[in-house]
Symmetry: C2
Subunit: 113 residues, 2 copies
């Protein structure tokens, strides 16, 4: 069993296509998580994730802040305490349209098992 | 894509062996999550989960409050912002040893796929 503050894990710049977005990989295969990974994202005001899709799902919990999640044909507001489920192949983008840092957990399956 | 406040999902009493513990199943197979489920637990002061083990892991994020997680041979404090990874077959129990409700996310894989 492991217990640690999320800030113990380094925040790194997120992938190409993102802006003002950093990610901490909190729970991964490296500590024995074989099925899915827990990441914590921090997105500054005006920041966004890439607008893209992929074959795996996202399970998201908004910890702090507010913004919009952009889909194929619409934008939906989110705020702290909201849950977001992005199904496989759904186009999606997270945007910080508020004045505070948005923090959210985003969990993804390990697909190759 | 689905976006909803966690409170939209009903809180139900947790399993036998737990006390003052309720669970909301936020993301499940019912909305298309085939690999793992997101649950949110609310544990009142003095409450606890069962002391048990099982063949699947837990990926936990503490949202609010403080308490202890009990393992085979030790207790470890946790507080808001902490991450807990319980490996398969690790004995574990979550206890609210603080004065406020503890809220935590606990994600589990779907094993039968």
């Amino acid at each position: 069993m492991k217990v640690f503050p999320y800030k113990d894990i380094e925040a790194k710049d997120a992938n190409e296509g993102a802006s003002k977005l950093r990610v901490r990989w909190l729970i991964t295969k490296d500590i024995g998580a074989k099925n899915f990974a827990m990441r914590l994202f921090e997105m500054e005001p005006g920041g966004h994730s890439p607008f893209h899709s992929h074959t795996w799902e996202h399970e998201v919990f908004i910890l702090e802040g507010e913004g919009h999640v952009v889909g194929e044909n619409k934008e939906t507001k989110f705020k702290a305490g909201d849950v977001v489920f992005v199904a496989p192949n759904d186009k999606h983008q997270f945007k910080n349209s508020g004045k505070k840092t948005v923090k959210f957990l985003c969990l993804v399956p390990y697909m190759e098992k």
